[in-house]
């Protein structure tokens, strides 16, 4: 299996990427504004729910249960879907999924395909594979359209184009949609997108969608959306292909009652999002004549194999963790170098790749715990971050200087004698750096600290020395 998570394997390390991105004033302002808006809306609609914690707990249990019996539920899904006239394919990795999808489209001589938002397709690099095969993909989600036409990358799970302001979007639309007189109010831009896409919805014969949930009991697929492009893509064309990560399975139709309450409130701060579509196989006289599901592994079985971090796969892609993450709010999504950004991205991206890449991501966190508080399925992200840091060190991938420093520190802290020696050494060693009772500059890796902070010098007498002296005088 050769796992690909977008371009994460070759992405620059988080600190390096972040350093550049935080210089971008527009990005920071937009990220701040967008996350403020959604998190406040989320807080209001969650506060309305007297049983929010109960819903979270049930969701956590449903997902944990499903992951424990994933092989059963996947097979149940396949049987039910096929019974209803669907066709199910299995793809072990990105390349295989792309091959299957291209193959299906070629069999129908499709030169174009309309796409509903699916991060899974970004994960496997589907658009590039389609273009290579002579098939033009048209993104239909407004934000994804902005990204596609702007030849850009998404920076948030739910509002991928939040780093763009409306003048930029207007420029992109003017150029790529050939609308030189386009106004710049959000309504003008949305109208332009509506016209541009409507023509495609009514004409293009093949569509690709993701899935928010795939129901094992009935073989149904559920797509949760706001704009209506999802409804267009799944019900108007002749051929529909759904790319579904194997972790999207839920056991029964009734389980929707839990997730359809948690997802809209967490993702967009609404009691219910405008449109949900649920369909099973083929419906006679209504919608596509052919329906294919591509079940995707691409490293999910790697994540499944670690019982301590398996719950990462419970994620329902609401983005709530991004909206409260103080680190994400500084940098936006691009710093993570992955289609999955923010706290969930920091744990999912490296695990899909068996910890071989994206090793700086588990460290891209101050462990404040805000993400865990808002996760609708109660993924203990801080714990998993710590667990993954342990894995990085265990693999021997920690920087050598750090390893030496940690060993030295462990030695210094191993008993009181060593600690007291280290304290004395520190007091002496700091002398060259002290000026007027303050340390303003430190060497080596500590220079990052002193770049923006003063440090009070190590006091002449430690607590333990004070205590020992006090005991002496008491005698």
């Amino acid at each position: 299996m050769s796992v690909r998570v977008g371009e994460a394997a070759g992405a620059p390390k988080f600190p390096k990427a972040a350093k550049e991105l935080i210089k971008n004033a527009q990005l920071r302002r937009n990220v701040r504004h967008a996350t403020d808006v959604i998190r406040n809306k989320r807080a209001r609609v969650v506060a309305e729910m007297p049983d929010w914690e109960e819903l979270r707990e049930s969701a956590r249990q449903i997902k944990a249960h499903t992951l424990r019996h994933l092989d059963f539920y996947l097979q149940e899904f396949e049987q039910a879907c096929v019974r209803a006239g669907g066709q199910v394919h299995w793809a072990k990795d990105a390349d295989q999924a792309n091959e299957i999808i291209v193959g299906l489209l070629h069999a129908h001589e499709a030169r174009e395909v309309i796409k509903v938002k699916t991060m899974t397709s970004d994960e496997i690099g589907l658009n590039a594979a389609l273009e290579l095969a002579g098939i033009t993909p048209h993104e239909t989600d407004l934000a994804d359209l902005i990204i596609q036409l702007g030849e850009d990358k998404p920076s948030h799970i739910v509002v991928p184009a939040l780093h763009r302001n409306k003048s930029e979007i207007r420029q992109i639309f003017r150029k790529k949609m050939n609308l030189p007189d386009l106004g710049d109010r959000p309504e003008d831009l949305t109208n332009a997108a509506r016209q541009y896409l409507r023509e495609k919805f009514l004409r293009v014969k093949a569509a690709i969608t993701g899935a928010n949930f795939a129901i094992a009991e009935t073989g149904s697929v559920c797509v949760v959306e706001s704009e209506g492009n999802g409804r267009m893509c799944i019900s108007l064309p002749d051929v529909l292909i759904a790319l579904v990560g194997i972790e999207k399975i839920i056991p029964r139709f009734q389980d929707l009652e839990v997730f359809l309450q948690l997802l809209p409130r967490s993702a967009t701060g609404e009691r219910m999002n405008p449109y949900n579509s649920i369909w099973t196989g083929i419906a006679e006289g209504d919608g596509p004549r052919e329906f294919h599901v591509v079940l995707l592994d691409n490293g999910r079985t790697n994540v499944l194999a670690d019982p301590e971090s398996r719950e990462t796969l419970a994620c329902i892609r609401c983005g709530a963790c991004l909206n409260v993450c103080p680190v994400y709010r500084q940098t936006g999504g691009h710093a993570y170098g992955s289609v999955y950004a923010g706290p969930i991205g920091a744990i999912l991206t490296p695990q899909l790749q068996s910890m071989r890449h994206s090793q700086s991501l588990p460290y891209a966190s101050s462990l404040c715990g805000a993400c865990y508080e808002v996760c609708p399925v109660k993924i203990n992200i801080p714990e998993i971050l710590l667990h993954l840091r342990g894995k990085v060190v265990e693999r021997g991938d920690a920087p050598i200087l750090e390893r030496l420093e940690m060993k030295a520190a462990a030695f210094a802290l191993s008993d009181e004698g060593h600690l007291e020696l280290a304290q004395k050494a520190g007091r002496i060693g700091q002398i060259p750096f002290q000026r007027d009772g303050v340390i303003r500059s430190l060497p080596g890796i500590l220079s990052g600290w002193s770049a923006v902070r003063d440090l009070k010098p190590i006091p002449a007498q430690s607590f333990r020395e004070w205590w020992a002296a006090r005991k002496q005088t008491e005698r």
Partner: protein, 247 residues
């Protein structure tokens, strides 16, 4: 009561005044404080950076030192969170049932300072006097891991002369995060700027918290910017009296 102080390695070295303040407050309340010299560190820095084996060794040392202490008190919410949340995991990984039992037995006896005062000793009024305006920053570990709630606020409210001002966007992380501030200095600095902005917006003279790690970071930034705002650990404010005023 006999209360065993776990000062923590960084308080011992960098903030002895906080330890002295804890001792002063507890003695004022009539309790006896002991300090076991053999103590060193809870292992948080190593554990949080991924060095679990080294952290496990430090955990065992902590256990050796405090195994038979009746009450252990620490003025560091992050260290208490390490002990309460992570020690059971580390012990479980060791596969050593005796170790697991010993840790299980130890944990209920460990208190963060404001927890000790409010929950265990049942006091909020400490005879403290501190005539300054103060804003309180809830350290993330105290806020979310230990669920301290309003205990520190209740303690501050009882301090005579103290004007308590709410910190805007209080629950946002200050950006210290231990080795995070070293490994991600730019983002940490960005987060610090946000926190300082909020501290200055409060117009308080003093910023306090129950964790010197946050205060070292926030205070270091305030000092660099010559902002004229002091940082003081909660214990030092509570230790300040009419007779022995904190300047």
């Amino acid at each position: 009561m006999l209360i065993s102080l776990f000062i923590t390695c960084y308080n011992d070295t960098l903030f002895p005044e906080t330890g002295k303040a804890v001792v002063a407050v507890l003695e004022r309340l009539g309790h006896t404080v002991e300090f076991r010299q053999a103590q060193t560190c809870c292992g948080q820095m190593h554990y949080n950076t991924g060095y679990q084996a080294e952290a496990a060794a430090l955990m065992r040392h902590f256990l050796d030192v405090f195994r038979d202490a009746e009450i252990i008190c620490s003025p560091s919410s992050s260290c208490v969170a390490m002990i309460r949340d992570q020690y059971p995991r580390i012990a479980a990984h060791s596969g050593d049932p005796d170790l697991q039992r010993a840790i299980e037995d130890l944990i209920p006896r460990v208190y963060e300072f404001s927890e000790l005062l409010v929950d265990k000793l049942g006091v909020t009024e400490l005879g403290a006097f501190f005539p300054h305006s103060v804003t309180y920053h809830p350290a993330c570990h105290g806020l979310r891991a230990l669920q301290l709630g309003d205990k520190p606020i209740r303690l501050l409210r009882e301090v005579e002369g103290l004007e308590l001002i709410e910190l805007p966007e209080a629950t946002e992380c200050c950006g210290f995060g231990g080795t995070f501030s070293i490994k991600n200095p730019d983002v940490s600095a960005g987060m610090l700027t946000e926190k300082i902005r909020c501290v200055l917006e409060s117009r308080a003279e003093v910023c306090t918290a129950n964790d010197n790690s946050c205060l070292m970071h926030i205070g270091g930034g305030l000092s660099r910017q010559r902002a004229g705002v002091r940082c003081l650990h909660l214990a030092e404010i509570l230790a300040s009296t009419e007779a022995e005023k904190l300047a």
